[in-house]
Amino acid sequence: MTNEALKEHVLLRHRDIENIHDIEVYMANGGYEALKKAVTELGPANVTAEVRNAGLRGRGGAGFPAGVKWSFIPKDIFPKYVVVNADESEPGTFKDREIMEYNPHQFIEGVILCAFAVGAETAYIYGRGEFKGPFETVLQKALDDAYAKGFLGKKILGSEFSVDIHLHLGAGAYICGEETALLSSLEGILGQPRSRPPFPAVQGLYAKPTVINNVETLTNVPPIILHGADWYRQFGTEKSPGTKIFCLSGRVNRPGNYELPLGLPIRYLIDECGGGIIGGKAVKGILPAGASSTIMGADLIDTLLDYESMAAAGAMLGSASFIILDETVDAVWAAEKNVKFFKHESCGKCSPCREGTHWLAGVYQKLREGRGTKHDVEMLNTIVDQMEGNCFCLLGEFVVPGVRSSLKLFRDEYEALADEANEVARPEQNLIQLHL
């Protein structure tokens, strides 16, 4: 099932072609042809150049151009590694799981192409522990079949190129989606972020040059190599080319993954794809990048879905995980849910994140239990101001935009919870419970 904006899926091809998870079906539909083209005609440098020319930007959240990232890998240091970030853990995100479960070969072919381009002989796919099912069944079977066909292993397609892909499962830690934390986790130490520089391209896994890409990013690569950068650029905008999977959840009639060319309005995603809001209610807020989003007000519903337009609207496209709030949703409750998530997932390495998320959760609890004052509302702003720019990694600061934008958009709801009677000096009233 496609939509009017996209006649044929580029990524979610299993929705057009039945049983494409089967290697025979995948091969009958152009599968592994990109790999043959790369190995027999193009060579590594041209593969990187094609991906760079296609303008493919990282689909994990940061939006960094994939081809440029690959070109950072030094030629003269060995071994090199490819690590796939399949630690899909941002609340509201469920696209990589669908790719891996239903279109695994296109993803695996993308991993092989990436390894070929940068000269890596080992690749690891790091999935969140909750992906045990898809990893041990679908993905492992797909890898076994790819080995059996000679697309993986030694001297692939008769060339000098060899690569092995290994699966590795995390064990329930959001922080491992941060690329340096992921590398540490894979090395068997605590999954906490590392300082940069050195960047992973220079000293990544086992201190060797490493490319880290998201599942969806690499799934884009086979069609780019097979059909060329110009073909790919027919989709999307000049600066945000291609298609993107939008994860739509929350108060819509038809939540789900929708693959769209970049550059359509948010309204199209909510109304045409998602069938509008449940019960015909009004949109109250849009979280475009999961729990770490700046919340967009309903007035921004015509913002275009590309990296630049979203940034211009003061938000981020991120992983394109759209959580939709309708007019019935309690804004303070929603913000507290996300704050609790970040509190739970703080890795504990730096104090602004470790302590800041605890204090935020405490103040939210106080407000929602009717013990809050206007001072507490202001305190939320004070805490996020102190966190911003001071956390060790970007994920530590992911709690900031949600709290700040919620306060800005729905200030009246916060103030309605602040009771003047609580202003009276009663020390026990001001206690904030810390759940350490």
Binding site: P91, L169, G188, G250, A291, I323, L325
Partner: protein
Amino acid sequence: MWSEKEQQELDQILKKYPNKLSAVMPALYLAQREKNWLDDDDIEAVAGALDISVTHVHSIIGFYTLYRKEPVGKYMVQVCTDLPCALRGAEDFYHRLCERLGVGPGGGTTTDGLFTLEGVVCIAACDKAPCLQINLAYYESLTDEQIDQVIAGLRAGEQSP
């Protein structure tokens, strides 16, 4: 403590990495597989097999949520109650399930020791709320009746997928 089969699996795991330390997470999963949690013997066995300290193994177990040092039920039932799911009724679904299974509102283990119920954060199934995992197998777009049937089936000895 490793059975012959587990030892073979461990050998396969070790081949994937250039050093033994990297195998700590898969080795812990292997050690936890049979009874769903890790006792001191399991932890020492992992440390011994990988030539790493018991302390380090403890730090790894403590850091991640999917390794457990306390006994839990045969079936670990993890219900997502995060924002996207909560917007589609997951919190109420979870509380009703806790009530029907006779565990407290914050989750817990059933008196027969079969099920441990826990509210968890996002499991990447937000479009199919209410959703949960039983021993990491997905169950999605659930009604109360459907999950009751699944639970009854497991009680009657059916295999979880």
